[in-house]
């Protein structure tokens, strides 16, 4: 881990996107930071251009897929993607419904997965830090999975 990577994990701006579903995963993350503007240097941002980490919560359908890709495209490198909860990781209960659901890995290179329905706040915060540690320099926008 080089010098900049250490700094990168000490100041993390997170953009949480709710792709669909019950919103519990997003609430867990926001509740973890409620009252505290920053824990472990993690803060929430509403501007994708200022974000370091994209938190994908809920079931991803066709419409939300486009929005997620749009947000991801605006984030500057290096950036991390985290799939939060069973819906974003595998589709959970809804994967056999035939509604054109995607997992986070189908559309973006995911750095970290947090399984469970609903995952705990502490696990989400820990995963954010670990994901930023594992972020590499290459530009993922050239990744074939996005095409």
């Amino acid at each position: 881990m080089n010098w900049f990577s250490k700094i990168r994990t000490k100041s993390i701006s997170v953009f949480a996107i709710q792709a669909g579903g019950c919103m519990d995963c997003a609430h867990q993350f926001l509740l973890a930071l409620s009252g505290n503007n920053e824990i472990k240097g993690i803060s929430v941002t509403g501007n994708p251009k200022h974000a370091d980490c994209l938190l994908i919560c809920g079931c991803i359908n066709g419409k939300s897929r486009d929005r997620i890709l749009e947000v991801y495209g605006k984030m500057p490198d290096p950036k991390a993607v985290i799939a939060v909860g069973a819906c974003a990781c595998s589709g959970s209960l809804f994967r056999r419904e035939g509604n054109g659901l995607y997992t986070a890995e189908d559309i973006l290179p995911v750095n970290s997965w947090i399984r469970g329905c609903t995952p705990g706040s502490a696990e989400i915060l820990e995963a954010v830090v670990r994901a930023m540690e594992s972020v590499k320099e290459p530009d993922y926008r050239n990744d074939k999975r996005q095409e």
Partner: protein, 282 residues
């Protein structure tokens, strides 16, 4: 020249120190988790590291321009140039940031630029009227001469409302209390960070540096009016700003139009009251 350079470096370093101390004290408050002490510096270094291929040329140009003008303004303030020259250079800095927001072409950028323009008009008006009052009281606008006069004659006695007005401008620039226009860039919503929509990574880090420098310029300008040795005055004004920074935690954010009204009421009217007192009543 050595003194000017020392002041220049001291002011550049002092403002981040204020924000570091603020972050540390904030983390000591009940119910708050301990954050990293050097958090503002980490954020700045992180932003310098980030690469943004989507950032257009104009965003970089406006970011670099605003930083350059803030540094020029700081040099002029430290070297004791004319007060209105410093204000005009600072207004160039502000205009560069606003034009950058317009150049984004996004709705949020245009909306925040509108807020920022209203803030710009208020502080420029207050500064110009303050300049007239200062000229009437001191017969000069050179900050170096004003500093000498304030130590000998106690210039602050003639300019109490002007001083309040200048301090309110400082609060407006720091997005504090009821003078927060919602354009601070560290909000949790896209509306609060909208002024910095086109800036990302390197250009955002440069804008952050420019803002810190601008706060330092206003601290320096206000400290000139106190009848004390300049380092002591600067420390007192910095501590006062720091106390307002902490007090801001206990004040709810108001809607930006209300913030504009409060700013007109305090920054605008205070400078006008002092102007009327000096020109017509005395």
């Amino acid at each position: 020249m050595l003194e000017v350079t020392a002041w220049f470096l001291a002011i550049i370093l002092s403002v981040p120190l204020l924000y570091i101390a603020y972050d540390y004290i904030k983390s000591l408050m009940p119910g708050q988790s301990r954050t990293y002490i050097l958090q503002p510096v980490y954020r700045l270094l992180k932003l310098f590291e980030k690469k943004d291929e989507d950032t257009n040329f104009f965003a970089c140009f406006f970011a670099a321009g605003s930083c350059l003008f803030s540094l020029i303004a700081l040099y002029m303030a430290v070297a004791g140039y004319n007060f209105l020259f410093v204000v005009s250079v600072l207004s160039m800095m502000d205009l560069f940031v606003i034009t950058g927001a317009f150049s984004s072409g996004e709705f949020s950028g245009r909306m925040s630029a509108r807020r920022s323009i209203s803030r710009f008009i208020i502080w420029l008006f207050a500064s110009i009227v303050a300049g007239a009052s200062i000229y009437k009281a001191a017969s000069t606008l050179r900050l170096k001469e004003i500093a000498g006069l304030s130590e000998i004659n106690g210039l602050v006695i003639s300019l109490p409302f002007t001083l309040i007005s200048l301090f309110v401008i400082l609060l407006m620039k720091g997005n504090l209390l009821y003078f927060n226009f919602g354009v601070s860039g560290d909000e949790e919503t896209v509306l609060g960070a909208a002024l910095y929509t086109p800036y990302s990574g390197w250009s955002l880090a440069v804008i952050q540096l420019a803002q810190w420098t601008e706060i330092g310029v206003w601290l320096r300008i206000i400290s000139v009016f106190l009848p004390l040795p300049k380092p002591v005055s600067y420390i007192i004004v910095s501590l006062l700003y720091f106390s307002f920074l902490l007090f801001d935690r206990f004040v709810s954010t108001v809607e930006w139009k209300k913030a504009a009204r409060y700013s007109w009421g305090w920054a605008g009217s205070m400078s006008v009251i002092n102007f009327i007192c000096l020109f017509y009543l005395i």
